[in-house]
């Protein structure tokens, strides 16, 4: 992504995960990817850029499955599921990564709120799963200890 695109995307996606019609883009039709949010280096700012606010609520209904100790930070399995209704999206934040927002999952009426993936973690960090249900954001946080980092060369 060159500097021009960076600036263009920064403006268009400030504070929003909403997909902008791709016709605005002359050169890439897949630019719904929220670059601004993925570039932010601070957890609080990152959450704010995704949701527009920082009103998070811890909830036992959000189930975050992550290892308490990850021997290899390059492959940390993370699973998130919830019993909450009307789930719009699931986001996974890794607080101490260079950019806390790791990935986002936009659900549809067809999907069940249950996803899993593998993440890279540079060092020991809290991992937070955030579930958007209705207008509220419910979270669950767990610390993952990393013995070998996954972001180095």
């Amino acid at each position: 992504m060159n500097r021009r695109n960076f600036i263009k995307n920064s403006i268009l996606f400030a504070g929003s995960l909403v997909a902008v019609p791709s016709m605005i883009y002359s050169n890439n039709a897949y630019a719904a990817w929220p670059k601004t949010s993925f570039d932010i280096k601070d957890l609080t700012d990152s959450v704010k850029s995704v949701y527009g606010h920082n009103n998070l609520e811890e909830s036992s209904k959000v189930k975050l499955k992550a290892p308490s100790i990850a021997e290899n930070g390059a492959i940390v399995p993370i699973n998130v599921s919830t019993t909450l209704d009307n789930v719009e999206s699931i986001m996974i934040f890794v607080e101490n990564n260079p950019q806390p927002l790791s990935s986002g999952y936009k659900l549809s009426e067809l999907s069940e709120p249950s996803i899993g993936t593998r993440l890279k973690m540079g060092k020991t960090s809290n991992v937070m799963a955030a579930v958007k249900s209705g207008d509220k954001i419910y979270t669950s946080t767990q610390e993952v200890k990393v013995t070998i980092g996954g972001c180095g060369g």
């Binding site: 897949y30 492959i75 990935s103 549809s108 067809l110 999907s111 899993g116 890279k120």
Partner: protein
């Protein structure tokens, strides 16, 4: 050869989808050990999945997702659904695969 390996299984009206995608997922922060130059970022940004042409899930990935990413999700579906997974990365490469749910 497709970069996507996909498995799906239906049970009680829920289809569990598991996928493995072959991709380097370079963060852009790593250096080539021999030359000391930065390896350019190269990672999947979006993954879409559809069942019978209807959207199931839209996924945004950052560079923090592991190399050769693994993905699992569930949706309300049935045996025989035509399931499609597609991805596009930050360099504009893309791939997709479809198959019937077992």
């Amino acid at each position: 050869m497709s970069t996507i390996k996909m498995r799906s299984k239906e049970s009680n009206g829920l289809v569990t989808v598991k996928a493995l995608i072959k991709h380097p997922m370079e963060t852009g922060a790593r250096k080539n050990k021999k030359t000391g130059e930065l390896i350019p970022a190269h990672f999947i940004q979006e993954v879409h999945s559809k069942a019978n042409g209807k959207d199931i899930i839209t996924i945004y990935w950052g560079p923090a997702v592991s190399k050769n990413p693994y993905l699992t999700f569930k949706y309300k579906g049935k045996k025989g659904d035509n399931l499609e997974i597609s991805w596009v990365d930050n360099q504009g490469n893309r791939d997709s695969k479809s198959g019937a749910v077992k």
